[in-house]
Every structure is written in structure tokens, then in C-alpha cells.
């Protein structure tokens, strides 16, 4: 990419040591509250809302009733894993320690009337991914959901939530990892074009547990997902991977927050996005906070955007707040670039037609992050989806067309 790149790599404690405070005050991660009234109706100038087209939120951020139930859920669970719908009074609710940090999240918390609960029992290894398909059947009425995924101590599992169809949907997803648990959570936003989806994922990562959290966003008119992580003890290991592909008019927003509130944790954030078409808009916010308790942690976050056509816009904002210099490492990088003419020249100079060369470059761009999801079913699906998205703008090469014929 010939794009501007920003990196920050603190190497000495002196240069990055922040003020010693027990409580962090920052507009990027305010104190939460369950009461919607504690969250003002956003006007659009607020830091956490300034990239989001509020007019297209269908009043989710104001007072739209969240009583719609136009959806179907189908479940294909691993035999070792329990997946069930329970009442909102179930004690598992709130077990991630999450408190809603914005108005839509608080309203969804209040409005949800069922709780979808996935539990991986202690020391259980799931024999296959647990697949939850959420199919919206209408975007007219807004609805609210609440999901709690719990991987109990020393369990190991993969949970995929696959969002398809039409919906106006606000939700909270709690992810709780017991000590030593290994959990992969994948959420695929493969909505129809008329969907508005606002979601908050919050993960509570147990001592020496490892979480791989993957967000994939292709569909929907407006998708805005917050994903936050905090550590319940020392040694938690978090990978956050994301992949998005915005077409004309789509708004896809991913806001990440890693709170290194315990020692010896590790976090690695890698998001990759492509944009094509007029007014395709993506937003990536990567906040990392290293509290003074976060000694010995290591964090790195990166976001790369590939702009395929004119008229698309990618916003990418990494933020690193460091309150202790006693860490292994912290850094971030953000790039936004167009197709590199030199890449195309090199490939074409070997006889590869331009369309095919573009395909190769885009696949190459996404390849590593797709591979790292580690879920074969998802990898195949993502490769196909990237191919389908590419066909819209970049075109289909003769080679591909003849293969499909």
C-alpha cells in the first residue's frame, strides 16, 4: 500500500508512563449504566457517535420501541454444548460484568425479553463448532436481543453466530471465559441490504484463558458493533480479528476496546476491510487502555483498508492509553490505501489479466486474516463471499467465469 501508516511502539517506560490514577476518565470508554435515562440521546457530535449516520438508525438511539420479534433462530450445537433460550432473570445475565456504555446498548438491555444462552461445561472440549443462525424476517419493527456465551473453566469450543435476513436489531452479547478456557466466537453479519444492526459484545476473560473473537461484516445498510474485552485475572490472551467489505451506501462500523486491567495479558487486534462504490463507509476504532495494573502486558492492534473505487471512505482511528510503562510492548498501525499500481504491474507483466490481478491482490489482502480465524467452515464461506463481493465491482475474470460455467 502506498498509504499513510501510523505506528507507535513505546520502548521505554519513561516515554509512555501516564498519570497514576485508579480510575480512567475518557470519553472513549465512559462509565456504563443500565438505565437508558443515564445516556443522553446522541446528537451526532459526541466522540462515540460522530462517525455514525444517526438518521439511518431508525430511532434505535432515541426511543423506537424494541418489541419486534420478527426473527427465527436455528441452532446446530455441538453435543457437548448447551444452547437454550431462557428468561432474562437467569443469573448468567450480567456475568460478564458489562454495563451498557451507550444508549442503544442500555435500551437493548432493558428491552430484551429472552436470553439466549450458550454454555460450554467445565473441562469439556466441543467436538464441532456450535452454529447459531439468526434470520431476521422483517426490518419494520425493531427488536432487542441478549446473548450470553459462557466457556467454563478449561473448556474449549467454537461458537458461530450467523446473522442473515432483514432486521432492525439492537443487542448485547456477553462472552465469559472461565480460567484456562479456550473459546472462539465468530459473528458473521451477512444481512440483507435493509438491515440496521447495532450490537455490543463484551468479553470477560478468565485467568490464562484465551479468546479468539472474530467479526465479519458484509451485509446490512448500517452495522455498528462495539466489542470490548477485559481480563478477570492474569495471563488472559485475546485475539480480535475482523474482516469487512462495504459496498455502495453501506455503513460498517467496528469499535473495539481492550481494557488491560490485569497483569500479563496479551491482546492482538487485526482488522481488514475493503470498500467499493459510492458512499461506502467503514469505521474502525481501536481503543486500548493499559491501566496501571496492566504490568507485563503485550498489545498490538492494526487496521488496514483497501479502497477499490472512488467515492468510498474509510475512517480508522487507533488509540492507545498507557498508564504504566512496565509492559512487554504496545503498538498500533493503521493503513488505508488504494490498489497499488506496482502490484498490478508485476502480476500483469507475467501475463495475468488486470481483473485477475486485482482478484489476487484483494484475496491476498484478506488471506491472512481469513486463515487466522481457524474455523474451516468460516474460511471457505469467507473466501466465497470475498469472491462474490469482488464480482460486483472488480469484475469476473475469464478464468473464473469459465470455471463456474
Amino acid at each position: 500500500m502506498t498509504a499513510p501508516t501510523t505506528t507507535a511502539n513505546p520502548t521505554s517506560s519513561a516515554s509512555y508512563a501516564g498519570p497514576v490514577e485508579t480510575r480512567v476518565v475518557s470519553h472513549l470508554h465512559p462509565e456504563g449504566s443500565f438505565d437508558p435515562a443515564d445516556h443522553e440521546v446522541p446528537k451526532g457530535l459526541e466522540e462515540i457517535w460522530r462517525f455514525t449516520p444517526l438518521k439511518r438508525l431508525r430511532d434505535l438511539h432515541k426511543d423506537a420501541p424494541l418489541d419486534g420479534h420478527d426473527y427465527e433462530v436455528s441452532i446446530d450445537a455441538a453435543p457437548e454444548v448447551r444452547a437454550e433460550s431462557v428468561g432474562v432473570d437467569d443469573p448468567v445475565r450480567g456475568s460478564s460484568t458489562y454495563k451498557p456504555v451507550d444508549r442503544i446498548s442500555a435500551r437493548a438491555w432493558e428491552a430484551a425479553d429472552r436470553l439466549f444462552k450458550v454454555t460450554v461445561p467445565t473441562e469439556t472440549v466441543a467436538s464441532k463448532p456450535t452454529w447459531v443462525t439468526f434470520r431476521g424476517t422483517g426490518a419494520q419493527k425493531a427488536g432487542a436481543g441478549h446473548v450470553v456465551i459462557t466457556a467454563e473453566a478449561f473448556s474449549k469450543a467454537t461458537v458461530v453466530i450467523d446473522y442473515v435476513g432483514s432486521a432492525t436489531w439492537a443487542e448485547n452479547i456477553e462472552i465469559v471465559l472461565g480460567d484456562g478456557a479456550q473459546l472462539t466466537v465468530v459473528a458473521v453479519q451477512d444481512w440483507d441490504d435493509d438491515t440496521v444492526h447495532v450490537s455490543h459484545h463484551h468479553a470477560h476473560v478468565g485467568r490464562d484463558a484465551s479468546l479468539k473473537h472474530v467479526l465479519v461484516s458484509f451485509g446490512g445498510d448500517l452495522v455498528r458493533i462495539n466489542a470490548s474485552v477485559e481480563y478477570a485475572g492474569t495471563g488472559g490472551d485475546v485475539d480480535m480479528l475482523g474482516l469487512y467489505f462495504a459496498d455502495a451506501g453501506q455503513h460498517l462500523e467496528h469499535r473495539l476496546f481492550v481494557d488491560h486491567n490485569n497483569p500479563k495479558g496479551r491482546s492482538k487486534v487485526e482488522y481488514k476491510g475493503a470498500l467499493q462504490g459510492k458512499d461506502a463507509h467503514t469505521v474502525w476504532i481501536g481503543d486500548v487502555l493499559i491501566r496501571k495494573e496492566g504490568v507485563g502486558i503485550e498489545t498490538y492492534e492494526s487496521n488496514d483498508n483497501l479502497v477499490l473505487t472512488d467515492g468510498a471512505r474509510a475512517d480508522s482511528v487507533p488509540n492507545l492509553e498507557i498508564e504504566t510503562g512496565e509492559i512487554e510492548g504496545a503498538g498500533h498501525a493503521s493503513t488505508t490505501g488504494r490498489f497499488d499500481d506496482l502490484h498490478l504491474f508485476y502480476l500483469q507483466s507475467r501475463g495475468i489479466p488486470e481483473v485477475e490481478a486485482r482478484r489476487l491482490v484483494v484475496h491476498g489482502f484478506f488471506n491472512d486474516v481469513i486463515r487466522r480465524t481457524g474455523v474451516p467452515e468460516i474460511q471457505d464461506r469467507l473466501l466465497q463471499t470475498v469472491e462474490a463481493e469482488l464480482a460486483k465491482h472488480v469484475g469476473v475474470s475469464d478464468a473464473v467465469a469459465s470455471r463456474e460455467a
Binding site: H343, Y346, Q348, R350, I352, P353, F365, D368
Partner: protein, 252 residues
């Protein structure tokens, strides 16, 4: 029997101060079976000649012609030129993240042949070509040029030359930055290519040392954007002894 013919080629690049002419009327004819060495000082326009023939978008052809068996090359897209039989081994091959060497080579071979190569023989061919360049098998799983050493990049270019087997190969300072072992390996690859008897090579170099391994039929001295002198292999020996001074002074 093919002929690559360059006639009165003028090429400019855009600079902050407007268009700057780099090539000022190049004439050169390369026939299949011939190896031509183009030698010249830095900044003489050797690489511009290579890139212009390949169709790099940075260079603007202002006049003149390049034809392959009478067909206008300058009218072709970059990939069409490659499919017509031209190959450029680059001085600085670009890194293409996430695209494996294996995928890249297969895509190139498929494009050149118009059909995908037979899987069984192709894998063997690729492994053989890499092995002859002393690149191990895992090399094909790495991303194209990413993290390659300078020598690996050049050996990868020559492995491609062998696999794609064009009519004419233009080697742009393939020898630069190579240690003596790598230089010998790369030269052997080029010689295998030439040994087919019906392939043409345009070898662009700053130094004479590669000519100890690759014997040119013709040597051209390139100065100030044009061919200043032409001769046989003995011209290279003279350049080795006396340098380019005679020509650069004359050009000023």
C-alpha cells in the same frame, strides 16, 4: 524465429518540472537465439528501456516503435505483452502480501497458456525450477517477494523465466546485489533458457562480471538514452578495462 525490434524509441517520465525525456531514440533488434547485453552507467536509461518495453504505466512513449514479429507491442496492455512472449525480470520485484508464490505462478501459467496446467506435472515443474534456483519447496508457500532476501528475489525471477518460458527475456540488472554463488546459479538459469536455441535475451547490466557466465552475442553501450556503440563480446572486455568515460564524455 521471432524478432523484437525497437525503432527510434523516445520515452519521457513526468517530473515536478514537467516531462523529462529519458530515452532519446533507441534502435535495437533482437532475434531469437541471440543474447544481447546492454551496458551503461547509472542513469543512462537502461532500466527505462526495460520497463518501457514491458509497459510500465510510469513511462510515456512519445515516439518510435517496439514490435514483436511486426506486431505493435506498444499498443498492448502489460499482460498482453507478456502473453505475446515478453518477460521482464525486474531489478526490484514488488512484494505482494498474501499471494503465495504457488498461486501466483499457477495464475501466470494459466493466463499464458489459456488453460490451467496439469496439476501433477505442474507441481513437479515448479519444484524443479525452485530447486534449480536452490530455493526450497516451502518457498512456494511464501507470499510473492515478501521478506525475500535480495538474492531470493532474483532467483525467484529466474525460476519464473524458466517456468513461463517466454520468447524474449529482458533481464534488468538481475546480477545486481548477488553474491558470487547466487550469480552463478542465476546465470546458469539464463543459460538453460538460451540453450533452447530459439529464445532471445536482452541482458541489462551495469557490471561486466555476469558476462563471465553469460556469453553475449552482441554488446551495446547505452549512454544518455541511446545506444552509443555496438559490438561483439570483445566490447565488454574493453569496457571492463576502460570504463564508460570515453562514451560519457562524448555524450556531454
Amino acid at each position: 524465429m521471432s524478432t523484437l525490434e525497437i525503432r527510434d524509441l523516445h520515452v519521457s517520465v513526468a517530473t515536478e518540472d514537467g516531462a523529462k525525456e529519458i530515452l532519446k531514440g533507441v534502435d535495437l533488434t533482437v532475434k531469437s537465439g541471440e543474447t544481447h547485453a546492454i551496458m551503461g552507467p547509472n542513469g543512462s536509461g537502461k532500466s527505462t528501456l526495460a520497463y518501457s518495453i514491458a509497459g510500465h504505466p510510469k513511462y510515456e512513449i512519445t515516439s518510435g516503435s517496439v514490435t514483436l514479429d511486426g506486431v505493435d507491442v506498444l499498443d498492448m496492455t502489460v499482460d498482453e505483452r507478456a502473453r505475446a512472449g515478453l518477460f521482464l525480470a525486474m531489478q526490484y520485484p514488488v512484494e505482494i502480501p498474501g499471494v503465495s508464490v504457488a498461486n501466483f505462478l499457477r495464475a501466470a501459467k494459466t493466463a499464458l497458456d489459456g488453460e490451467a496446467p496439469s496439476l501433477r506435472t505442474w507441481v513437479k515443474d515448479v519444484n524443479g525450477a525452485l530447486e534449480r534456483m536452490t530455493l526450497d519447496k516451502t518457498f512456494s508457500q511464501r507470499s510473492v517477494n515478501e521478506g525475500f532476501s535480495g538474492g531470493e528475489k532474483k532467483r525467484h525471477e529466474i525460476a519464473q523465466l524458466e517456468l513461463l518460458n517466454p520468447k524474449f527475456a529482458i533481464l534488468d540488472e538481475t546480477d545486481s546485489g548477488l553474491d558470487i554463488d547466487a550469480l552463478r546459479i542465476v546465470s546458469e538459469g539464463v543459460n538453460r533458457f538460451s540453450a533452447q536455441g530459439d529464445r532471445g535475451v536482452l541482458l541489462i547490466t551495469h557490471y561486466t562480471r555476469i558476462l563471465r557466465y553469460i556469453k553475449p552475442d552482441f554488446v551495446h553501450v547505452f549512454v544518455a538514452g541511446k545506444v552509443a556503440d555496438s559490438g561483439g563480446a570483445e566490447l565488454a572486455e574493453e569496457l571492463e578495462a576502460n570504463g564508460y568515460d570515453k562514451y560519457t564524455k562524448a555524450a556531454v
